[in-house]
């Protein structure tokens, strides 16, 4: 695992809003494969692209990106 890894919730947000990878890529002006690499954590976006992704989903930046892994859904309820 890279020390500079940035975790994101793009697949979850995309699935929740029913947006395809190609639609998101077109809205952001990037190649659809770039969205794939972002989702897989193989590419960390620039600050500008990260802000545009957050703006697209209408959520704060920290809802989409984090330096630590996001907790699994339901894990807080179990505790």
């Amino acid at each position: 695992m890279s020390a500079e890894e940035v975790y994101n919730r793009i697949p979850m947000l995309r699935a929740e809003r029913g947006v395809s990878r190609k639609e998101l890529a077109a809205a952001l002006g990037v190649h659809y494969q770039t969205v794939g690499y972002l989702e897989r954590g193989e590419y960390s976006p620039s600050l500008h692209l990260a802000l545009r992704i957050a703006e697209y989903f209408e959520v704060p930046l920290e809802v989409v990106f984090s330096l630590k892994p996001f907790p699994r859904l339901g894990s807080e309820v179990r505790r």
Binding site: S20, H31, L49
Partner: protein, 203 residues
Amino acid sequence: MSERKSFGQMSWAELKRMSWAEFRQAGGWAELGRMNRADLIQLDMLPAWYATRERRRWLAGAGIFALALQWINAAVSWAVGPDDGGSRIILILVAIMMVIYLPAVTLMNIATRGLVELAERHLDERQVGERLRATTIAHRITTGLLTACFAAAVVAGMGGGDDYVVPERAVVMLVIALALTHFVLPLIVSTWRLPDPLPDNEE
């Protein structure tokens, strides 16, 4: 009635499924010819040739082999005189090189989605970054090759005495080999490094 897609909005698989009548109705060859390079390269033609990392590395290997043939050509021009069958060897090697080089470069350009080929305005930030990385690695390799050429020329000059002259034909072949290497090595490096994209199972 559903709206007809233009060629630029279609995938290669959709284009292949079209009948001749549909193809002609959509504008035919004239419309296909009007597409710019950036759109043509996104058509995902012949995906089986570059679908996996292993196959892409075979393609990159074919590109390296074609380049190596041109370097061998330069060495043959240096070592073998035109009257000793050198010209025939060079012609055969050039023919084999072109047969491998042209399809390999075309497929590598499609596989990388024009990462090295297209102007920067057609690329996004990830692609620009990847192009820079590939160019840097290729530049380092080219520097090594230039150093090796220089060392070979110095050694040949020292061993050949004061009146030693590198054959003109060898210099031309060497310049062609260096130019081709400089031109195509970033493409080979980016094809070699390309990770597998996520399967696109969304419509």
